[in-house]
């Protein structure tokens, strides 16, 4: 076993697990008994000649994925768009809400981290608002904002703000006293101290918060779009659920996972960039 490096062995195991898992899945789906020969009118009307809705084997999902991914940007009307367009809508909503949240959360987090009075004053509000399920805001948002698009973005905003805010405050408060003292002896202005000393020191914690936030935002957008409808990957899932088309549902679940993984990987890269060794 010493022939392969640890990474290669892990990759091999991943492939084996995948293949075994798919095989078990494929075999566990028994072929549906489709009535053959002459069908009575009743059998025709109840769809006896065609397959019933059910969990599809992975081979069907692959065929579906091939169909959808070979033409991802078709647009057949407001309620029927390709998977690429749907994912595009979802990413647009997530990023808009997310960056709005970042614009507010990071400066506010700085303030809270640097001033213990601000921290104590704002903490009760944060503690009450933070655990609220973002979807609970949806009816209120729809009613007040009166725009379903903006409401979805608001829900993303409200769910991604907390991890960033708390992590920023935590990171800023945790900057070593010595470094701030050194800055003080060099007579740096508070603003300059914030940007040249505290920001680089707190950056890894802040980016961790941002990474947690983007993950949550992506989780929430699917649910929000299922609720509001119209466009987006969440709407796609809902629309196929209407038709009990589980093949499409499983395909979109996979797509949601892949996009979420890519978003997370992007922040993983950023995290490595800002890391430092003491």
């Amino acid at each position: 076993m010493g022939l392969l490096s640890e990474n290669k062995r892990a990759a091999l195991w991943s492939v084996i697990l995948l293949v075994v898992g798919l095989l078990v899945w494929e075999l566990s789906i028994s072929n549906q008994q489709v009535a053959a020969g002459e069908l009575t009118e009743y059998e025709l009307l109840t769809g006896a000649g065609t397959a019933k809705a059910g969990v599809p084997p992975p081979s069907e999902v692959l065929v579906k994925a091939w169909q959808e991914l070979s033409n991802p940007f078709y647009d057949a009307g407001p309620n029927d768009k390709g998977i690429g367009i749907q994912i595009g809508y979802s990413i647009y909503r997530v990023l808009t809400g997310y960056f709005l949240a970042a614009i507010i959360a990071i400066p506010l987090g700085f303030l809270i981290g640097m001033s213990s009075v601000a921290y104590k004053a704002l903490n009760p509000f944060i503690q009450v608002l933070r655990p609220i399920s973002p979807l609970a805001w949806m009816p209120l948002a729809l009613f007040i904002i009166q725009d379903s698009e903006a409401s979805a973005i608001f829900v993303i905003f409200i769910c991604s703000i907390w991890p960033m805010l708390i992590n920023t405050a935590f990171g800023v408060a945790g900057v070593r006293e010595d470094w701030v003292n050194v800055a003080r002896t060099h007579e740096l202005s508070p603003l300059k101290t914030a940007f040249t000393v505290i920001l680089p020191a707190a950056a890894p914690t802040i980016v961790t918060g941002m990474r947690i936030s983007i993950g949550i935002a992506w989780l929430v957008i699917v649910a929000a779009e299922m609720l509001v409808g119209g466009t987006g990957i969440g709407y796609y899932v809902w629309n196929e659920w209407n038709n009990l088309d589980l093949t499409s549902v499983i395909f979109s679940i996979l797509m949601i996972g892949i996009v979420g993984m890519l978003l997370d990987a992007a922040f993983g890269l950023l995290q490595r960039r800002v890391a430092f060794v003491e």
């Binding site: 009743y42 109840t46 769809g47 009816p139 009613f143 009166q146 299922m226 809902w238 629309n239 009990l244």
Partner: protein
């Protein structure tokens, strides 16, 4: 009630530049002084026409108009204006001689069910285009979202359930906003479906403890289900549980055992049979032959601010509804509305609903050509019936002006005018009595009707 932006154009005290809900101080004070009496929608439409004409005469100089009205008096001015400009004719012609639509790009909401057939099919079959409109039909996840998107103006008009515009106008379960319903979409076309495990419980008195799904609180489905079980001695608020489930989620919930049955729109009744999960206990036409179900509704402001667009849209909807009512067209329609962009359902399922030749889930093929039918005329007596049921089950309280509200929301004369224009027969009166499970309903005695029921909310 608020009659948005409709001040009396012949009064020197009203300012036509400010709407009636204008928040500025002088307006607020003026409103408190002069509470406008209740207007029917037709009066409102008339006043909108008058207002438009008077404004055009005075070249949008409101100061000029007000000082003129102050000097000669409103009545004199109205008479003088009528002598040179045929006001009454202008009012009557608003739906007949339509100008080009003020706005051609429209968003119309729909919930993916066969009740919405005319609204949906008008798009692929070109009915909107025929009347100069470029309308998109937007799929909506449920009734609460349809209500909110309509209230917020994202939808210009929307597919709704017949009780919804009444409830919204009254502010029941919604902000109060005057809504109009100039056309019914479908009559009949719903069913009570039970899960297969209840094959032996065909007598509703055995349903104690059941959980039923209905698509929305303010729906015919809710009121018909309540009526039906109450006739069998069950109190729907005590003996059974009624849950609001969006139509598309009915089948999944029935399969999962969350529901014992539901009274829901099609295609989800037929879909349950198609999937082998449930059976059709009865069609709702057996409860009330010809009951209304879904409707075409819009905020009143849509009709007053964009009268030409409103007229063109109403014409396309009524034309499409009449087209759908012809059984010969139903197969073509099934194919037009089945794709992903519209209902996203197998064609066979839609076809069974629309043609009435269907499998009932009990091993029989039933042939009921009027399982669903389409009739645009909004009988005001239907509105009164719905209000009596809202009163009966405690959705509204106190004194209800049954006929007043029904007449304000169900625009029977608009529908009649358009139907006649398009060459269809329209009923001559707005009220008739209905027969529901063998008991007749007299729209002239709504309060007595409510009191006649033994089972009702306290």
């Amino acid at each position: 009630m608020t009659t948005k932006s409709l001040g009396n154009p012949f009064s020197k005290d009203t300012d036509l530049r400010h709407g009636q809900s204008c928040p500025c101080e002088p307006c607020k004070n003026a409103r408190i002084e002069a509470q406008t009496p209740l207007m029917s929608s037709e009066e409102m439409l008339e006043q909108a026409v008058e207002s438009a004409i008077v404004r055009s005469v005075f070249g949008h100089s409101d100061i000029g108009r007000r000082s003129f009205m102050g000097m000669v008096g409103g009545t004199t001015a109205a008479a003088a204006l009528a002598s040179v400009f045929p006001l009454n004719e202008a009012k009557a012609n608003i739906l007949e001689n339509l100008g080009p639509p003020e706005k051609t790009d429209l968003n119309i909401g729909f919930v993916p069910i066969t009740c919405a057939t005319p609204i949906i099919m008008a798009q692929p079959l070109g009915f909107y285009e025929r009347y100069g409109l470029n309308a998109q039909v937007i799929k909506t996840a449920g009734w609460a979202v349809a209500r909110d998107k309509s209230l917020s103006g994202e939808y210009d008009a929307s597919h709704m359930l017949t009780p919804m515009p009444l409830a919204m106008t009254l502010g029941a379960g919604s902000v109060a906003e005057p809504y109009i319903m100039p056309a019914v979409e479908n009559i009949n076309g719903q069913a009570i479906v039970l899960a297969n495990e209840h094959l032996d419980k065909r007598d509703p008195s055995q349903w104690k403890g059941f959980t039923f799904g209905v698509p929305f609180e303010y729906s015919m489905h809710n009121f018909l289900l309540r009526y039906y079980v109450a006739e069998f001695g069950l109190d729907p608020d005590v003996d059974i549980q009624i849950r609001v489930v969006p139509p598309p989620e009915m089948v999944a919930n029935l399969r999962a055992g969350n529901l014992d049955g539901y009274l829901s729109p099609d295609p989800f009744n037929q879909r349950a049979v198609y999937e082998g999960i449930g059976f059709i206990h009865i069609l709702t036409k057996e409860i009330w032959e010809g009951h209304p179900c879904c409707a075409f509704a819009a905020p009143l402001s849509f009709a007053t601010e964009l009268p030409n667009t409103y007229g063109a849209l109403l014409k396309s909807i009524i034309d499409a509804t009449q087209y759908a009512s012809n059984p010969d067209n139903r197969i073509e329609i099934s194919e037009a509305i089945a794709p992903t962009n519209y209902l996203n359902q197998p064609v066979t399922v839609i076809q069974q609903v629309l043609t009435g030749t269907y499998a009932d889930g009990l091993g029989e093929v039933q042939r009921v050509p009027d399982r669903i039918d389409f009739d645009p005329f909004p009988w005001q007596s239907m509105g009164v019936w719905i209000l009596t049921q809202m009163k009966r089950w405690g959705y509204i309280e106190g004194d209800v002006d049954y006929k007043g509200v029904a007449e304000q929301v169900y625009l029977a004369s608009d529908a009649r005018k358009v139907m006649t224009d398009l060459g269809y027969d329209a009923p001559a009166e707005n009220y008739k009595s209905h027969m529901i499970m063998g008991k007749s309903f007299d729209p002239d005695q709504p309060e007595a009707y409510v009191d006649s029921f033994e089972i009702k909310a306290d």
